[in-house]
Assembly symmetry: C2
C-alpha cells in the first residue's frame, strides 16, 4: 500500500479528515435537509415512519484486516445496516458513520474504507449524513447507524408470524461462513510468511459471500411488486437457527424447518466437504448471509409463481408455540433449534 | 466490585444480555412506535424535522476506567449526544446504544453502564430504542446515536451568524479540562499503588464537570421562553476556540472573543494556578464543557434581562470574514484563534 505523501491523518487532523472524507458527498434524498457539518443531521419525514438501526464492527471480532480488503469492509459495514432496514420492509435513506482509527491506520486505509462506504451508499441511494471520527488505541472501530422510512402499514415486524404461515428465505445459506473458514485457514497457513500469497482461486463464491454481502433491496421490491407483505421478517446475520427463533419468540409460535429444504450452494457444500463440516451446521449457525428470512400466509404462496431471477425458498412452516422450534433432519429426526449469538456454543 | 454470582456475560450471551439490559425500559415518547427488539426501531414524526447525531467513545481515548465511575461514563456518553441535539435547538427523543465489551468487562460493569445510560434517558425524557452488543478484543467501546425533533423554523445551524451578532456562552469553561488534569495527576501519583485512595476532596466542581456533564436542555427552554432564537449555535465539546471557528467558517464570518469576558469558575482558576496553567488556555482548548455557544442578533440582547438562574455570558461579537478570528487578550493584544481536534498542537 503506497503512503499518501501530501496528506496524512496527522496533517489533516480531525476536522480536516472529516472534510476530506465527506466533501464529495452529494445528497440524494429529499428527506435529507442537512447532512454532515453541523452538530447533528436534520431529516424531514412527512407522513412516513422512520426506521433506525445501528451496528458496531470491531477489528479482530467482526473483521480481520489481514485478509479483508478495506474497501469491501466499508461496503459490508453499510450493508449490514441496510439489511436491517430492508428486514423491516422499509427503504434506507441515510446513514451516519463513526470510526475510531489507531496510529497504525494510514490515511489511504481510511480513504479506501470510505470508498467502500460511498459505493454502498450510491448503490442503495442512501445519504451519508454525519458521524464522528476519533483516534483509537487499538485498531479500527466502525459504528454505523442507518435510518430509513416506510409507510406505517408496510412495516413488517418480527412478531407477526402465525401458525401455518410458510417460512421463506431469499437465497442460499452458509456460504459466508464457509468463506470465513477459508480465509482463516489461509491465514493460518501463511502466518509468518508474507511472501506467499494465499491461494483463493476457485473459491470466488464463498469469498464474495463473506467479504462483499449485498443487502436484499431487490427482494423487498419484488415482494411489493407481487403484492406480498410478509407476516414477519428478519435478516440472517447470526444464522438461520437463531433468526427463526427470534421470529418464533416474538410471535409466540413454534416452527418446523426441513433440512432438505435449506438452500445451500454447491460451492458451500464442496468446501464444507473439504474441511469435513456439515453444511447444514454452517447454514444454521454460521451467519453473515444477510438474506431475508420471512413468513407468509399460505394464501400468498401462489403469488410467487411470477417469472423472476430472485430465488425464494420455502424451508418450513410456523406452528403453535406448544410444538417448539425444531429442525426436521434428512433422517426425519426432530432436533431442537439452538440460539446463537456471540456466546456461540457450537 | 462484587461479582454477580448468578448471571455473567458468558451465561447470558448476546441475546440474553440485550434482554437483561433493556427489559425494564419504558417508552416515554409518542413518536417511538417500536424500540428495542426488532431489526430496527420505528419512529413516527408527523410535521416535525428529525435530528440525528452520533458519538463514539473509546476506552483509553475518551475515558479511563481507572478513575471513571462506570455509571457516570454511561451518563456522560448519553449527555455528549443529547448536547449535540440541543445545539440544533431541538429536543432529543430517542437514542440507540452499541457497546463492545472485552472478556475483562464483567456483567456488573455493563449493568452500571446501562444504569447511567438509563438515568440520563430518564432525566431528559429520552427513549432507548435499540443498539448492538458485541464482544471486543480490547476494552470497552460505546457508540451512541441520538435522534431528536424540532419544528423546521426552530432549528439553529452553525451557519447563521451575521456580523455584529453577539457571541454568548451558557456557563463557565475550562473546568472539565481541569478535572481531567486532576484525575490524570492523581493517577500518576498512585500508579502501582492500589492501597492509597486518591485525594480528590475540595475539587468537587471540576471533577463533576469532567465526570458528569449535563446537556443544557434548560438553556434551550429558557431561550424559547424569552423568545430568542440564536442565529447560530454549537455545543462546546472540543474547546471554545475550535467551536467558534466552526461557526465562523460555516457562517463566512470573523469574530472577536474577549479574554476578560470568558467565564471561568473560581475552582478552575485555583487548580490552573496549582498546576501552573493559564485557565484561558483550558477554556479555549480544553473542551468537554458541553455548554452551548451561540450567536444572537443585537436586537435580542435586551430580552436577556429576565430573572433566571441560568447564566448566559456575552464574550464577543461576530465580524466580517475579512477581519479574521481573534482573541483579544487582557493585555489588549489580538491573537489568532487555533482550531483544536484530536490533532491538538497545544
Amino acid at each position: 500500500m503506497s503512503e499518501n505523501k501530501e496528506k496524512t491523518l496527522e496533517s489533516l487532523g480531525e476536522f480536516g479528515l472529516i472534510e476530506h472524507l465527506t466533501n464529495s458527498i452529494e445528497i440524494k434524498n429529499g428527506s435529507t435537509i442537512k447532512g454532515v457539518g453541523d452538530d447533528a443531521a436534520v431529516l424531514d419525514y412527512k407522513d412516513k415512519q422512520t426506521i433506525v438501526t445501528t451496528d458496531l464492527l470491531l477489528q479482530g471480532i467482526h473483521f480481520d484486516l489481514v485478509y479483508t480488503p478495506i474497501v469491501h469492509l466499508g461496503y459490508k459495514a453499510v450493508m449490514v445496516n441496510l439489511s436491517d432496514v430492508y428486514a423491516m420492509n422499509a427503504t434506507p435513506k441515510q446513514i451516519t458513520v463513526s470510526i475510531g482509527v489507531s496510529s497504525k491506520v494510514s490515511l489511504p486505509i481510511v480513504e479506501q474504507l470510505y470508498d467502500g462506504i460511498k459505493l454502498a451508499c450510491n448503490k442503495h441511494n442512501v445519504d451519508l449524513i454525519g458521524g464522528d471520527t476519533s483516534t483509537s488505541l487499538t485498531g479500527l472501530t466502525i459504528s454505523i447507524t442507518a435510518i430509513g422510512e416506510a409507510n406505517k402499514e408496510d412495516i413488517v415486524y418480527r412478531s407477526g408470524a402465525k401458525p401455518n404461515d410458510l417460512i421463506c428465505v431469499s437465497g442460499d445459506l452458509g456460504a459466508a461462513y464457509m468463506g470465513l473458514q477459508l480465509l482463516e485457514r489461509e491465514k493460518r497457513v501463511h502466518q509468518g510468511n508474507t511472501e506467499i500469497q494465499p491461494d483463493l482461486s476457485g473459491y470466488d463464491y464463498i469469498l464474495e459471500r463473506q467479504l462483499k454481502p449485498e443487502a436484499r433491496k431487490d427482494v423487498i421490491e419484488f415482494l411489493k411488486t407481487i403484492g406480498v407483505k410478509p407476516t414477519a421478517m428478519i435478516d440472517i446475520s447470526d444464522g438461520l437457527s437463531s433468526e427463526i427463533m427470534h421470529i418464533c419468540k416474538q410471535s409466540n409460535t413454534g416452527c418446523r424447518i426441513y433440512e432438505n429444504k435449506i438452500p445451500i450452494d454447491h460451492a458451500t457444500s464442496l468446501f464444507a466437504e473439504e474441511i469435513n463440516m456439515n453444511p447444514t451446521v454452517a447454514a444454521l449457525n454460521g451467519g453473515e448471509d444477510y438474506e431475508l428470512l420471512f413468513t407468509i400466509s399460505i394464501e400468498d404462496y401462489a403469488k410467487f409463481n411470477q417469472e423472476t431471477d430472485i430465488k425464494i425458498y420455502t424451508i418450513g412452516h410456523i406452528t403453535d408455540e406448544s410444538k417448539g422450534q425444531y429442525l426436521v433432519t434428512n433422517g426425519d429426526e426432530e432436533v431442537e433449534l439452538q440460539a446463537q449469538g456471540w456466546n456461540a456454543v457450537q
